[in-house]
Symmetry: C2
Subunit: 613 residues, 2 copies
């Protein structure tokens, strides 16, 4: 393998060679800021996935280093994120009971499978598959997930037990237990939430007014959760809130991330395969979107297929070091970027910072109330909720609105897997529906020019013996027959003797398209009509020349449509007929070959039938 | 309902009004010929579906009349056909034991469900769904079905019991029982097969040499099975072959078709729903193809959505009159057409002929050997087998070849449902794969003109500060991001200050496409680059004007690409650079935004970075 292609798979060889003192100091500063932010965030997302708090920290150490080696983004920070943590809880909740050793182990298996899928997709260059998650589906899914996450954390604000992976389950469980709410917990949770909301909305403008730079104000704002953590931990310690029924984090093991072996029984792998695939794809989409946003700001670029390998390595790393599924997070990456991170080394330094935290700081977190973590989660995910997408999609396209609405409703009602799957299938179905109804126009010559335009929109000249048809789509198996039906119904009972198919918009003709053209040629021949083509593109023509179609074609292939009309018009010897747009009562039936439309076409009296067999 | 729209749903009101003596005599003659052909064919297809022989005759009476009322083809003859009979046997074989009353009743339920699906699809105008069965899938499926049918009939030629719905099952069962072959049966079967093959290949040319018209020779040829039936029946009666172990048709009930009530238990309906849907769609596709072929010969037209209703009515009729699933058959329709049928009344007269046969002729069929029927089936279906499709598809397109091959293999190996389903899914997947990789070209100005062409194919002028991009596809959720990636990797480290997207080939921008453009605009802005559009189509522009995109666009929308280059080139003040096609080492990477390609682009040294945030 040449150094260049090796660098492709190991981007570290590229930036590592040029690493200098200036980059080092930028990276160190960014790492310190990110570390401070990540400690409470890691604990919170572990709690969201109903995993022990240390899992979240472990999941930010090895993955960050592995991503630094294999990933292509300079600023992406990898670790547990809200949506993936929610999906993790939903997935492993189906194979093990919360709080058991099996549950924690299942998270490792999920991370390993998800990492394996990512690496596999990267090696096979399947990154493009993520494109099949349309924006409406992603937006709907993220919004619904944000709502589910926020609601799932209400139990921690109230200090009650509650369960459920879907909105109806959660609401039922919450209303069942709401009477058991602990007031101390509620006080801490509500205060922390209010404080964090103020930090998010009120603090930044205040800091800007005080003269801080936008970047610095952003970093300070992101430190809000740390302040809430410190304050409520001190409060809980001072007032002994744990004896008053306030759930606290408690003992977090001190030490290096453990070496873990994810269990790989066939049953477990089978049960987790689909969730792992969805987590991979959704994590990848989120991560690439963050990475691209940051890379564009510096005219850098990321390589999506290599990102798959970077994220895959990160997840595999997480699975062997006591972690959970991870991906590139928005908030942490933006902080990293704003704090001045220049290379992935910033990530490695962050990992060292977290390692120190895991070794030394965890006892300080003993009294941290879970309600505070819940508050940080709720405030963080509320920014994911974007119900305005419904309005925007509705205004733009009803099909896209349907995809958003179905994704949101199914995610809320039946969980994340059902929501995403239904959204993707619906998007594809709507796309195929649209693509299966190509726009077909009868064209005529704009007087005095060589241009041909839709006879329904323009004043054009036509020849009753020649039917000029333009299809604005490639000819593929699911739309070619529409063209055939259209032409066959258009010629029924008409005096047409030549059909000229203007192929200027046909980028491809697949085998079904070819056979449809052959059938059309044959059927038109039976009716005594010649079929001609015009403006066929080079690559399409190359393929047609490998078949017998051109030999059997009753008519000719013309370079331009104008050539065709000139040659055939002279031969047919008929005079041109002037049509005006007003001959056409409405534009609405355009492209539909059905009866009503045909009847609207002012057609000469039926000629003697051509019975040529 | 107006008479016109009533006639739309009841085509009989249209042709019935103009019916005259000439049409009557043509129709009567055609009906006589078709009746003679249909008696053995109906028995054979009932045997293929392992149903009592009379079922096939009953299934040709009520359905033919109902199709005459509701269908739009003038010549289509409806009844049991080979592929649908095979699918029927496979479907009802899963819910009941062959030869039981439940098995016969399940055929009625299948016909009812299939009729209900057809009518429903017709009312909802879902005929276009059939287009998703690509030609390669249909061809592969029909070929594999023909092979399966021929092999399934070998047991009747050998006079042995054998079972199985798939090739491996059939082969195993046949080789197990081949030792029990009955020589008399084999002699009759082999002779009948050889005779029928000669009729098909040798008789028609001989008749033509004798001076018969092509039409008459065709009709005589189609009577071959009748001759075989008469001869072998007489032989079996004269030699008492039934006592020598030759299976004969035996007693066929004499009488009108019975009034039957298809059982509709939930279990049965659930079990038969998917097969019924497949039978509907495949029957519809076959039938429409036949009907269109015949209609085109007389410049008539059929209405696919109304055909669904006609075929649906026919199947529902079959289910209440002791029949089985039916559709428009190729052989019988061609005979009907060649014999001069002018209107669907010919079908009604055929139904009367079959009614007479059911009442009076069935005793004559007592001694008809089953081996003769098997021979007629084998010879009929061998014409369906077209393995040449593999070669033709391979030559034209590897994707289409894959669809044919998978459909054939899965149909043979796992049965008709698996084959069709896999074929359809594979076709869609391959289509989406191709559509997700749109052709993207960087364009430059052809010197001395206002035309812009791909810089890899033509000698064109470009401006290093302006990137002109043309995408040859609509912007949809699964390809828009490809454009974004392409542009972002192209501008990475380049001195580009303006990106102009030439949208001449963009027929639609969906919501994902819009958001991708918004992101692209935002990211380019971050990099200090303005995004412009040119040659946006009217309907696309209408939609964009309903959004905030045009307001936020950093650049402008130009009517023509030439306008854009003139305005921006002057502003950027840089001189044009002449590029030649030879600057581009190869055409192969076209449209791929990956690293290798970027490295092949001769790029000026990196400019000072624009850090605009």
């Amino acid at each position: 393998m040449s150094p260049r292609s090796l660098a492709r798979y190991l981007p570290i060889l590229d930036w590592g060679r040029r690493y200098d003192r200036q980059a080092l100091s930028s990276d160190l500063l960014a790492a310190m800021i990110v570390t401070i932010m990540l400690v409470p965030q890691s604990l919170a997302y572990a709690m969201l996935a109903v995993l022990p708090p240390e899992t979240g920290i472990y999941a930010s150490i090895a993955p960050i280093v592995l991503y630094a080696v294999f990933g292509t983004s300079r600023a992406l920070a990898v670790g547990p994120v809200a949506v993936v943590s929610l999906m993790t809880a939903a997935a492993i909740g189906t194979v093990a009971e919360q709080g058991t050793a099996g549950y924690v182990a299942a998270a490792l298996t999920l991370a390993l499978l998800s990492g394996a899928f990512l690496v596999l997709m990267g090696v096979l260059r399947l990154g493009f598959l993520a494109n099949f998650l349309s924006h409406p589906v992603i937006a709907g899914f993220i919004t619904a997930s944000g709502l589910l996450i926020a609601i799932s954390q209400l139990k921690h604000l109230l200090g009650i037990p509650a369960r459920g992976d879907t909105l109806p389950e959660m609401v039922a469980s919450l209303s069942e237990h709401v009477g058991e709410a602990n007031l101390w917990t509620l006080a801490i949770g509500a205060t922390a939430t209010a404080f964090l909301l103020w930090v998010r909305t009120g603090l930044k403008p205040a800091l800007l007014r005080l003269g801080l730079s936008a970047g610095a104000a952003g970093v300070v704002t992101k430190a809000g959760p740390v302040a809430a953590v410190v304050a409520t931990t001190l409060l809980a310690w001072a007032l002994g809130l744990s004896e008053r029924g306030v759930s606290i984090v408690g003992e977090v093991p001190q030490g290096l991330p453990p070496l873990t072996m994810p269990p790989l029984s066939l049953d477990l792998v089978t049960a987790l395969a689909v969730p792992a695939l969805l987590i991979s794809v959704i994590g990848f989409v989120e991560s690439v979107s963050v990475a691209q946003t940051l890379a564009a700001k510096k005219r850098q670029r990321i390589v999506p297929d290599q990102e798959l390998i970077g994220l895959g390595a990160a997840n595999i790393g997480a699975s062997f070091t006591g972690g959970m599924p991870v991906t590139g997070g928005f908030a942490r990456s933006v902080v990293n970027f704003d704090a001045g991170a220049e290379t992935p080394a910033a990530g490695a330094f962050t990992a060292i910072g977290l390692l120190v935290a895991a070794l030394a700081l965890t006892p300080l977190l003993f009294f941290l109330p879970q309600a505070t973590l819940a508050a940080t989660i709720i405030v963080a995910v509320l920014s994911l909720v974007d119900l305005g997408i419904l309005r925007r999609a509705w205004a733009y396209s009803k099909a896209d609105f349907a995809a958003v609405a179905v994704t949101i409703l199914l995610t809320l009602g039946f969980g994340v897997e059902a929501g995403v799957t239904a959204g993707v299938l619906l998007s594809l179905a709507l796309y195929l529906y649209k693509a299966s109804r190509p726009h077909i126009a009868e064209v005529g010559c704009v007087p005095g020019t060589e241009h041909f335009r839709n006879i329904r929109r323009h004043q054009v000249e036509t020849d009753p013996a020649i039917l000029s048809v333009r299809i604005d789509e490639s000819l593929t198996f699911f739309n070619a027959r529409v063209l055939e039906d259209w032409i066959l119904s258009r010629i029924a009972g008409s005096p047409v003797r030549h059909v000229v198919l203007m192929a200027s918009a046909v980028n491809e003709i697949d085998f079904s398209g070819l056979e449809t053209l052959e059938e059309l040629n044959h059927r038109l021949k039976d009716a005594g009509i010649a079929l001609h083509l015009s403006e066929v593109k080079g690559p399409v023509m190359d393929r047609l020349e490998r078949t017998t179609f051109l030999r059997d074609l009753t008519g000719r292939v013309f370079l331009s449509h104008f050539d065709a009309m000139r040659a055939l018009g002279r031969k047919s010897g008929r005079s041109r007929r002037r049509m005006t747009a007003r001959d056409w009562p409405s534009d609405r039936n355009q492209g539909k070959p059905h009866a009503e439309q045909d009847q609207s076409i002012p057609r000469p009296r039926q000629p003697p039938r051509d019975r040529g067999l």
